[in-house]
Subunit: 556 residues, 2 copies
Amino acid sequence: MRYSQLFGKSIRSVSHDVRSRGHELLIRGGFIRESGAGRFYMLPLGYRVQENVCRIIQEEMNRAGCQQMLAPILHPHELWAETRRTESVSFELMQVKDRSDRQFVLGGTAEEMIVALVRQFSLSERDLPFCIYQFSTKFRDELRARGGLLRAREFLMKDGYSFHTSREDFERFYEQMGKTYLRIFERLGLEAHLVLSGNGYMGGDYAHELIVEHEVGESRYLVSEDGTYAAHEDVATFEREIMNSEEALTDVKIVHAERGASIEDGVKHYGAPAWRQIKSLIYVTDTGEKILVCLRGDLDISEDKLLRAMGCATLRLATEQEISEAGTVAGFISPLKRSIKAIGDLSLTSVRNFITGANEWQRDARNVNYGRDFSVDVLADIALAQDGHRCVGSRSILRERRGVEVGNIFQLGTWYSDRMQGANFTNSQGGRTPYYMGCYGIGIGRTIATIAEIHNDQVGLKWPHSVGPFSTHLIQLGSDAAVCSLAGEMYQSLIAKGEQVLFDDRNVSAGVKFSDADLLGIADRIIVSARLSAAGLVEHQHYRSDTKRELRIGEL
Amino acid sequence: MRYSQLFGKSIRSVSHDVRSRGHELLIRGGFIRESGAGRFYMLPLGYRVQENVCRIIQEEMNRAGCQQMLAPILHPHELWAETRRTESVSFELMQVKDRSDRQFVLGGTAEEMIVALVRQFSLSERDLPFCIYQFSTKFRDELRARGGLLRAREFLMKDGYSFHTSREDFERFYEQMGKTYLRIFERLGLEAHLVLSGNGYMGGDYAHELIVEHEVGESRYLVSEDGTYAAHEDVATFEREIMNSEEALTDVKIVHAERGASIEDGVKHYGAPAWRQIKSLIYVTDTGEKILVCLRGDLDISEDKLLRAMGCATLRLATEQEISEAGTVAGFISPLKRSIKAIGDLSLTSVRNFITGANEWQRDARNVNYGRDFSVDVLADIALAQDGHRCVGSRSILRERRGVEVGNIFQLGTWYSDRMQGANFTNSQGGRTPYYMGCYGIGIGRTIATIAEIHNDQVGLKWPHSVGPFSTHLIQLGSDAAVCSLAGEMYQSLIAKGEQVLFDDRNVSAGVKFSDADLLGIADRIIVSARLSAAGLVEHQHYRSDTKRELRIGEL
């Protein structure tokens, strides 16, 4: 490709909305352009990167025995009604009617569509297992779309779906897909980590995110220092340290407490650490029920864990009015003498002689002990793991990380096949068994954005060789006949060798050409100049490294 | 790929809705499946065919210097409002709102989206020409979707858009794209013809359809016997034969005519050929105006030509009530003493002494002559060309054909750049000139369907080698250890040679395997059987030809 003919050349500056370095470079280099917020054009340069990324994913998926196919983008609404995901999906679904008033969902994920296809075939045990996948445009009606390709409203996704006769067969495949994903990201120049995560609106029991550590990411996760454990904050478990097991149990004492409503206020008032207090909050479920939630004062609630522990789809904090209806008062809520259902964190058993509110303004109860003085209806893991906590079992210290979720793999089990009629196969006894399923996603735009965030320096991008838009950037310096002719010859001979060449043949200064080359970040550069070409030499440079090698033309 | 592991195996029968042979075979073979009417899954086999088709198109587009990119599927509604195509597009646009109430169009074509991208760059003369293209899903809310992939509501399309500084530069490129398209279809095993056509809702002045002749097609076109002219019926011109130039002009005579209302009734009543009569109809335009339309009695009106001649978007025939308001009566409408605007076909000057109605029930006028006794406000080409008519100029006889429109190329001129603000480049004088544009489409699903319609016989498909899902169909007959081992070895060695192999390793009868191979239609078959393998031989067969060659295993 001659740069003079390329559509989508580099530009000098971008709008102030652009907050991340990688996104800025993608726009400035002419890789992508925004249509509306969260919707992007892939320009010819960006499209070439996308093709390379997709090809690598395709090769590895095929190597794992998966089969590529393609489902329609518009999903009949009745399929989503079968699983009732129209109600549970957290991103808002875009919906559209055709002129005959048939309603469709603009697919955000395609589980229903794929199961609806597979159940059309009367499969028997010997037709399983298989995994089918596609690259297709997905839609999520994000309220805010920032960060460019990292969080788009419309994006290309590789989504795969596997079907198995049994849990055991699935587990073997799930492990294989984890390895396939790690290899994919390695080939793309990304160090991804398999991080245990929640299934959210996808259904199923467990899942892993593939996360690349980077500050622009929105995934907060915890990794044990010994490297044996990595989990998303939504699911990360941790050891509740026993704080004061030596302390003698003493009697409950109701005291007047002229303190503010927060845990910090209690710390100041009592001169005792936060863990000494019980943090009590009242939540309201989607059915309107009020729930008392208690945990140790130094911990925070994980609303994701809480939702799962309670099995409800949404939760909100109670208003002051609702707190008062529950017979208590904000800042002094207490698990003692409660009138509503209570759920408590495992940490409630790790402290002797807690301080807690006493359901009245500026009244506290001291020396309160779980089991002896109060209990909850459900004792569960509902606290957020934090940097410095310890791993359950190994006691290795957990460290907090931030990163970009570039892919994910989900156990779905029979979540879909139980809900969708006819989603089963004939087993060896002639009966019908629901498929045991998994699904596997990679966000293509987000992966490209992550590569751009990771692989850049102060002047521009530095694409890994495997994904760069071209393998060689050929730069012609000067325009005298000998240089033009040599550069043209080099261009043709590199192409003949199967190289993907971007040939900067423009009539602009060397400075402009080098600064564009720095910005575009193609791995190999070949420079044809008047000085060297007279001696039958060209220069080769890796990115914009300081060392240039002079090469005889024949040596290339 | 082992057939035993393939998702989407062949089935024996299809629903009665399936009307075309190719569509039936695509479903039976496991290439495609319907989601809802007009929306299809590409199964692994079909997806492989689609990949081959896209790759060939991509190679030829790139060879013509075009650059691949990708635009979002959701188009901001305001772009379509800029060109007012929301009002003129004949397929109903699907529209969708996001949660912030922004309205989008589900793209049916992408001219506005592409111009909206290109105008973001401040292009100057030296940045042109260029052509960008994409493969992307398109939506058309067809009222009826029949014929499978031939007329889908959601389909993959290759759409390209070229930008030029001048008409001359565009015309050179347009001719090149015509040739590129013919080469693409030739490589896909289709004999396509460049057929002059109308631009319809696309804007611009002229266009060509790429049509493959076949009875399942919906395009009716005319080709001259000398091969120099091919045009879609909507635009095909033809010579108006002079019928009776020797006849002396005689005086108008008003006569009582006890005849029915049709031209045929007039033929019977007068014993004169249909061309002797004037066919007169009243149409109502989109603004409610009544228009008298006249042509020679042996011809039919082309509503497409009529719309173009009148420059309106829609037209309908007048009701009896409206005809009577126009001061005349159905069956006896006359261009004599008319009170409304009239448009006439060129054929009105080709007959002396016409017979026409006289605006009263059972009253006719005889010996009516254009120019002497009546005239029209516009004399234009508004008649439908028919088999047997003659080409204008060459007088070669026109023959009617039916075919599938697999692609099209459009001159757009400045239709979009005039309507969309800022769609221009800096010319050499420093002023701004609107881009001169063209666009170029290929329907991928329709192309696949057409290949399937053309390349089949009574037992199954016969894919051209370039597009078939696999290059080799390896069939293992029997399951004794020697055969299994040889077949397995063959499979590995063919793959190592870079062949795409479908290996029928199932434990089913030879009859089932051959009938599936016949159905799937892969070009090369290799058969491994006990009888021959003992002698170190396998059989090679081209499709299911009667001749099988026996080959030493090493000879492959």
